[in-house]
């Protein structure tokens, strides 16, 4: 809407020509100027400029919806509002599962199960709606080359043995997962920009990016001056494109992130090789100790709507925490990784 050309708004052609001589072509250019500048450029009086502003604003302002209309739309909507994760306690806490129309982030130390979770979710999205799926295709953008098709088949067979009893169904599911290997920031951005067309043509119901952090951390060294700003700009653009896609098509978007260590003294360094033992030894509470948080900084943390954090408890068990969610309180669940993917331990959530 911001790039709407003024010609289509309904201004007179002479006025449009006059404005384009001053390089004001789109609504965005028009609204960025103050009324005084507009008076100088258009030659109109204050009231005339005010009327023009109202006309241009009406052309790009969003439509009003009441909260009640949104609620009835959601209830009547044919597509579900959540994608259940098939982990019952987690779904209950999240009021249904991974929310459609918003960004969900999974973050955690290496080897904790983020890619396993993503593979599991891609199977769930292809299942028919009576089994809790979205019955659609999946776009899987893989930046670490961690996706394994064999593991996909293994999880599918072990988790839903009654459904995947024929070879055909397995092939159908695996043909619905569209894998894209992008290894640089530019490629990832291009892929995201062309997502809309893929979604419409292939009937995509879930977008997964695994992982957001690896390309960004590779290319933007935050010690160098100016790179932090560039990185944040890139991430903000990525987030706003993904949010637009998620809301427009009402599909869930799952992103994975890495972790970073905050050393005391506020120097952040990248924790590349954090083995389980190191993770457990991080103490809680004493000042001066380091603490582990999600990577990519505060700006990125604001951009995602839901954040799930994975971490190790001991050599076998791990924990999933709901760290940020607009509908769920803080909660944690213990899980292990088996043949069929993630399995919650049978105990009450803390």
């Amino acid at each position: 809407m911001a790039s709407k050309k003024l010609r289509r708004v309904g201004l007179s052609p002479e006025l449009c020509d006059r404005l384009s001589r001053h390089r004001i072509v789109t609504c965005q250019d028009f609204l960025c100027l103050s009324p005084l500048e507009l008076m100088k450029v258009t030659g109109l009086s204050y009231r005339g400029v005010h009327e023009l502003l109202c006309m241009v604003s009406k052309a790009c302002a969003p439509q009003m919806k009441t909260a009640y209309a949104m609620k009835t739309q959601r209830c009547a909507a044919l597509s579900p509002a959540f994608l259940p994760t098939s982990l019952p306690a987690l779904d209950e806490a999240l009021r249904g599962g991974v929310a459609c129309g918003s960004l969900t982030e999974i973050t955690g130390p290496p080897g904790c199960g983020k890619t396993q979770f993503c593979i599991m979710m891609s199977i769930l999205a292809t299942l028919p709606t009576d089994m809790g799926g979205l019955e659609g295709a999946v776009v899987y953008i893989d930046t670490e080359s961690a996706f394994s098709a064999e593991r996909l088949i293994e999880i599918a067979e072990s988790r839903f043995p009654r459904y995947f009893n024929t070879e055909e169904k397995l092939l159908l599911t695996s043909s619905k997962v569209h894998l894209y290997r992008e290894l640089s920031c530019d490629e990832v951005m291009q892929r995201i920009e062309s997502l809309e067309e893929d979604i419409i043509s292939k009937g995509v119901k879930l977008v997964i990016i695994d992982s957001v952090a690896s390309v960004v951390r590779k290319e933007f060294d935050t010690q160098l001056q100016g790179n932090m700003k560039e990185r944040n700009k890139f991430l903000a653009r990525e987030a706003s494109l993904l949010k637009y896609v998620a809301e427009e098509f009402s599909i869930p978007v799952i992103l994975t992130n890495q972790i970073t260590t905050h050393l005391s003294g506020a120097l952040t360094s990248q924790a590349d090789l954090v083995s389980p033992a190191d993770d457990l030894s991080l103490s809680e509470g004493s000042s001066g100790s380091s603490c582990v948080t999600a990577a990519l900084g505060n700006t990125w943390s604001h951009n995602v709507n839901t954040r799930l954090i994975l971490r190790y408890l001991d050599s076998k068990r791990r924990q999933i925490l709901i760290a940020k969610s607009p509908v769920a309180p803080f909660a944690s669940f213990v899980y292990t990784i088996k043949d069929e993917g993630l399995v919650l331990a049978q105990q009450r959530p803390q």
Partner: protein, 348 residues
């Protein structure tokens, strides 16, 4: 009426012609008739008439200097202002700690800024306020409607349904033993009504936000019961896409001015959720303190990971109180609202 012609909102072409013809001040123009003006200056009769109307509107010659009516709102004594502040209503949150700190609740006719770390509860507070503004007057509310401008996409209808349901139950509990007036008011306070009176706009970038704020005065005139405008969050659209920092400052200041004038003219409160900047603890993305009478500053506590917010209302005498919103990182996740000790100076 010696006011210079350049200070009037005339179109530049007309102004240039007037100056060339020798007119310097408003007084000289007011003596002339439209047809004479058009002949002398060389502009059309309609333009001459419009010019004279603008001048006349801006310089009333016969009206008394002292504006006794309250509609002008720009001139009044401090006593009148004090009376106004005493009768001022607040939007209560039903969280007594928060209401006490704010001196009653979120004040009308002022802008309030809410800032904080990600995940700490800004959007939750905004959604709660959108419900609380609709509380009927017999319970202490303002019985108004709310406009919610969302730039981040974090508004969840399901959560608002939960909040509204809880509020209705709470009011039923209060009214259970009381008179009929409350019971009658509660009949109107249903889930459907609450949701229908939250007007939601989703702005995807700063152009749409600017456009929406320009159109707000007209919207508010049509929906005169709106008492709260929420912009969640004001920083998000300006943090990417905009390389020109001076343009950004100018646009944000313009937005701030428009918000203040909206708040005053339509007697409403406007609240902005804003994200904290990582490095800049005491400065906000907007920048100039006097426009925000109520500030929630961020201060890092010695305890790792805890955040706290200070409310330092400028019209309350005495030490400022701190409210602490805990958000510790794992393993112990808990969230609670506690009151801290008073006495320390708020950060600059």
């Amino acid at each position: 009426m010696q006011r210079d012609l350049a200070s009037f909102p005339l179109s530049p072409a007309v102004r240039v012609k007037l100056v060339t013809a020798g007119f310097q001040t408003a007084e000289e123009l007011l003596e002339v008739k439209p047809s004479e003006l058009s002949k002398e200056v060389g502009i059309s009769k309609e333009e001459a008439l419009e010019t004279l109307q603008i001048i006349r509107r801006e310089c009333p010659t016969n009206k008394p200097r002292y504006a006794g009516t309250s509609e002008s709102g720009k001139k009044c004594t401090a006593l009148e202002l004090l009376e106004q502040e005493h009768t001022q209503s607040f939007i209560i949150t039903f969280c007594s700690a928060v209401d006490n700190i704010l001196g009653g609740g979120i004040p009308l006719m002022k802008t309030t800024e809410i800032c904080g770390a990600p995940g700490v509860g800004k959007t939750q507070l905004c959604m709660q306020l959108a419900v609380d503004v609709q509380i009927p007057e017999c319970f202490g509310g303002v019985a108004g409607e709310a406009v919610f401008i969302d730039t981040e996409g974090s508004f969840m209808v399901d959560r608002v349904v939960e909040l509204a349901t809880a509020c209705i139950q709470h009011l039923h509990l209060i009214a259970g033993t009381h008179m009929e007036e409350e019971q009658k008011a509660l009949e109107e306070f249903t889930l459907e009504n609450i949701l229908s009176h939250i007007y939601y706009f989703r702005c995807c970038d700063y152009t749409e936000l600017l456009a929406q704020v320009y159109l707000l005065p007209d919207f508010l005139s049509e929906h005169s019961k709106v008492r709260l405008v929420i912009v969640d969050g004001i920083a998000f659209p300006f943090r990417h896409d905009l390389d020109d920092l001076s343009l950004r400052t100018r646009l944000l200041n313009g937005l701030a001015q428009q918000m203040i004038s909206l708040a005053n003219n339509h007697r409403l409160a406007s609240g902005h959720g804003e994200r904290e900047r990582q490095r800049e603890r005491s400065s906000f993305a907007i920048g100039s303190p006097p426009q925000w009478p109520l500030r929630l500053a961020h201060r890092t506590d010695p305890k790792p990971g805890a955040r706290c917010f200070s409310w330092s209302p400028m019209w309350v005498q005495g030490p400022s109180t701190w409210a602490i919103l805990h958000c510790t990182p794992w393993p112990q996740q808990r969230a609670g609202l506690e009151e801290g000790q008073p006495g320390q100076n708020p950060p600059p």
